[in-house]
Subunit: 190 residues, 2 copies
């Protein structure tokens, strides 16, 4: 049954757009907000309740440690000093950087690895949705840095993998809707 | 900034629980509702906009075709007649069964396969959330049937993989909250 509350929620869900760190500013989500974000992540479908993910929250000094890791990465890649500095600053642009760490058990007899990854993705998407509902904007940042052994090693224990970071804060200006993909292209009758 | 609309949406997001097909009845989501569900799925984070998923919607005759597939599977597994019948009925319990088909490109130079799977999972979770916001209940059904070559072959083309089905409908009774996992176990500071 359609309800006014449901329609309100649906309207917000359909207008969540990712916002890059450079367009984010203080305030970022508080520890209480991030707790709520984690509750939402835990509502993603998760067969056998494996909870194949966890979060590591950096703000303040944590962001400085992340900046040092990004700087080290840029140096090892032989980037010029100017780019090293830019990479360093990239880590501290958003008020909060929440690392997403996957804990996939490829030997699980019940739940294949691809379903565990789908659960990680559901958790990330629910986390972004919850942050949006709390008035923040956010984006998932991944790529080569997340796969760098030194950076991954700073976050992960055995059998863990760094997926990337949810960078979050308050958008500096109006959030731009992105061109939509046509649902007709992904919907058919069986 | 916290808003009344955001708090309403957050309250609904945190109270989405999966409901099994046997507890679902008519009405199921209409074609318009499923269109909205697909829009929500397309709002999951998706680096490089690969859209590595699509949906195939079964109701009515489609569910009968699915029942025949489940029956064939049970027979091939050598199940006794009674179980074959039960498996057949399992396909038609919910008003709608929306197959989720993944289209993962493991050779994509930008986005590794695990991130594409995370996008599929984000799409699924957003789809469930949207159905919940529209007043329906749903659950992801996967397991051995989704991996069966005959069933997968009925849904998938080349380089596609059947993830499972989102079964959806109206809950027959009040939806039971599930025991929560403690966010403290998945949250730490970096």
């Amino acid at each position: 049954m359609r309800t006014a509350a449901g329609e309100t929620a649906l309207g917000l869900l359909l207008t969540r757009y990712s916002v890059s760190a450079k367009h984010l500013t203080e305030p970022g989500p508080s520890d209480d907000d991030i707790w709520t974000m984690a509750l939402a992540a835990l509502r993603a479908p998760d067969r056998s309740k494996l909870v194949p993910f966890r979060f590591a929250v950096a703000r303040g000094e944590g962001l400085q440690r992340l900046a040092a890791l990004f700087e080290g990465y840029a140096r090892r890649k032989g980037k010029p000093a100017e780019e090293v500095q830019r990479d360093r600053e990239r880590a501290t642009q958003a008020p909060v950087a929440i690392a997403v760490i996957a804990r996939i058990d490829p030997a699980n007899p019940e739940v294949p690895a691809h379903e565990q990854w789908a659960c990680v993705g559901g958790a990330i998407s629910n986390a972004l949705t919850a942050l949006h509902f709390m008035g923040y904007a956010a984006k998932v940042v991944s790529g080569a840095r997340a796969a760098d052994p030194a950076i991954e090693g700073a976050y992960c224990g055995e059998n863990e993998q760094l997926v990337g970071w949810i960078v979050a804060g308050t958008p500096k200006g109006p959030v731009k809707p992105r061109g939509e993909f046509d649902p007709a292209a992904i919907l058919k009758q069986f």
